[in-house]
């Protein structure tokens, strides 16, 4: 079940969602067997920023019916720390590496992309645009024009594939995806989490330290599938689909809706090896329902 994404050969179509698997910590917990049984076909790093970040104050997690709201807040060592300490370890993984970056201005983004692109360990770069631009105040990834400006600025900095991660908190993610494609992006990934909130039981105060967070998990699957189908119809570049994928059937549905690859996020919290199980289930489905995938791509517009 080999696959290909923006020219990078993959042993299969299952990625992790950025920020939902820390391969370095998992290696501490599970040992080197993690490398032999690595659950993903391409590893996406947690989003890094130029400056180190502690992340949001706890509590950061709220369980919902069939899902999770998180307000992690992008804790990371910052660009320098990541390049020095984490990247060499991620380079030991048995699969290609994609680094996710977020900048609070286009200059920051440029600094991140230029630095990350230089490193041989890195095969793809994902641009997490789900944050407010410190200059304009708008959520970069909700606005086609902002997205286009950013991608145009970054495109000349590297020949490595650039993936734009779309926010679902937008009126028209398809328009943002089109803008990204026109500005030179090589792929889009979606969905990131949906803005969500919970109150601490018996109080009228927000539970999460940051006030609001992002909803993920099976609760958002149908919403994600609709966005993936819509975006896949509107762009020619590959889409990476995610949002509540928990079984091979879910993965098959996202592929049928037009995704070139899929990512597993929250389900990995329930089972660290979920990616492997989903890959096996998907393989069985593709074997039993022969011709399923090709049909799917040609049927795209039917969705």
């Amino acid at each position: 079940m080999s696959a290909e994404l923006c020219g990078v050969e993959l042993r299969g179509p299952i990625l992790n969602g950025s920020g939902t698997f820390d391969a370095i910590a998992a290696r501490k917990a599970f040992g080197d067997v993690l490398l032999d049984e690595f659950p993903f076909d391409l590893f996406v790093s947690k989003t890094i920023t130029v400056a180190p970040r502690q992340g949001n104050p706890p509590p950061r997690l709220w369980e919902t019916p069939a899902g999770l709201v998180n307000s992690i807040g992008l804790p990371n060592k910052g660009l320098r720390g990541f390049l020095a300490e984490d990247l060499p370890q991620l380079g030991e993984l048995p699969v290609p590496l994609c680094v996710s970056v977020m900048g609070f201005s286009r200059d920051e983004l440029a600094e991140l992309v230029a630095a990350v692109a230089e490193r041989d360990e890195v095969e793809l770069i994902e641009l997490n645009f789900s944050c407010p631009n410190v200059e304009t105040g708008t959520i970069m990834g909700a606005d086609p024009a902002e997205t286009a400006l950013s991608v145009e600025r970054l495109r000349p900095l590297t020949r490595k594939p650039l993936i734009v991660k779309l926010t679902p908190n937008a009126t028209d993610p398809g328009a943002v995806a089109e803008a990204a494609e026109n500005a030179g992006a090589d792929a889009v990934s979606l969905i990131n989490t949906l803005r969500g909130m919970a109150l601490a039981p018996g109080t009228n105060r927000p539970w999460l330290g940051a006030g609001t967070g992002g909803q993920s998990g099976p609760a958002v699957r149908a919403i994600a599938l609709a966005q993936v189908a819509e975006v896949s119809r509107r762009v020619g570049i590959p889409t990476i689909g995610m949002g509540g994928i928990a079984t091979g059937r879910d993965a098959a549905d996202f592929l049928a809706a037009g995704a070139a690859a899929v990512a597993v996020g929250t389900e990995s919290f329930r089972d660290p090896a979920a990616g492997r199980r989903i890959a096996a289930e998907l393989e069985a489905i593709l074997r039993d329902e022969r011709g399923f995938l090709p049909a799917a791509s040609s049927e795209r517009t039917a969705l």
Binding site: T20, G31, G55, P57, P58, A66, N70, T266, P272
Partner: protein, 269 residues
């Protein structure tokens, strides 16, 4: 902390529940974990979920697995968990019947570091007694166990230990008052003990402060809400003197001097 860590098999495995007895207000659940390592370290924990009907409880929860210290690990591969039903996840686990399937990931995290031999004081509050059970087995009769409980029906949990001093909030069993009073007396009596503690945040904080005051080394097993248990989600952080640390990979046992306070926001208890 630099405590011991037995690594877990990769992935969630299914095991069989072999027993579920009530111990006062608590449940003691036995699981035959044939595929797990035989040597988890006291203070390490497992992420548990029922195979069937995980979800569909109050408000369609639980959805994520729940973290539990193991209370005892037997040679035949039996793990025992000691738990209190306080919400949809623990409610479901408390109703598991022998023969049912249970999902396990673990052992996870860093356990207590028994360090070089010496006097040990094990201080537990309520269900916090759980990890002290295997720790006291390991440390032997040298280690004194001090436990605090809300009431008599909770204090029945003390029956799992060979020798133990008990305090209850209402004085119905043992001393009336907080377990920290028992600890203060022990510390006042002198000797260079290491303190190992687990319990609700206010108790842990009292223990931490008391030990800090007297410069007594203390290891605290903390709790925080966890989604994954293996460092994937960055959700379980607690503030320490060195910034936030993920309790699931860099804890749950932390040295007292790493902490400004043991009262962590959003802990399950």
């Amino acid at each position: 902390m630099n405590g011991p860590r037995t690594q877990a098999p990769f992935g969630r495995r299914m095991a069989e529940v072999t027993g579920n007895e009530s111990v006062g207000a608590y449940r003691l659940i036995s699981v035959l974990d044939s595929d797990g390592p035989p040597d988890p370290r006291p203070g390490q924990f497992y992420m548990l979920s029922a195979r069937d009907c995980w979800g569909g409880g109050a408000d369609e929860r639980p959805y994520l697995p729940r973290a539990f210290s193991y209370a005892r690990a037997h040679e035949d591969g039996t793990l025992q968990f000691f738990l209190e039903a306080i919400g949809p996840g623990t409610d479901r686990l408390a109703r598991l019947e022998p023969g049912e399937g249970i999902g396990l990931v673990g052992p996870l995290g860093i356990g207590f570091d028994p360090g070089p031999a010496g006097e040990a004081l094990l201080v537990g509050g309520g269900i916090g007694a759980a990890p002290l059970l295997c720790l006291s087995d390991e440390l032997g009769p040298e280690a004194r166990v001090l436990l605090g409980f809300r009431s008599a029906v909770h204090a029945l949990g003390a029956g799992l230990f060979a020798e133990v001093q008990v305090a209850t909030d209402d004085g119905s069993v043992g001393r009336r008052g907080f377990v920290t009073e028992l600890l203060r007396e022990q510390l006042d009596a002198g000797g260079r003990a290491t303190v190992y503690a687990c319990g609700p945040p206010p108790m842990l904080e009292a223990v931490r402060a008391l030990c800090a005051e007297r410069d007594v080394p203390v290891q605290l097993a903390l709790e925080s809400g966890m989604a994954c248990g293996y460092g994937a989600c960055f959700g379980c952080v607690v503030p320490t003197r060195n910034g936030y640390v993920r309790l699931c990979v860099d804890g749950p046992v932390l040295a007292g001097d790493e902490l400004e306070t043991a009262v962590v926001p959003g802990a399950p208890h």
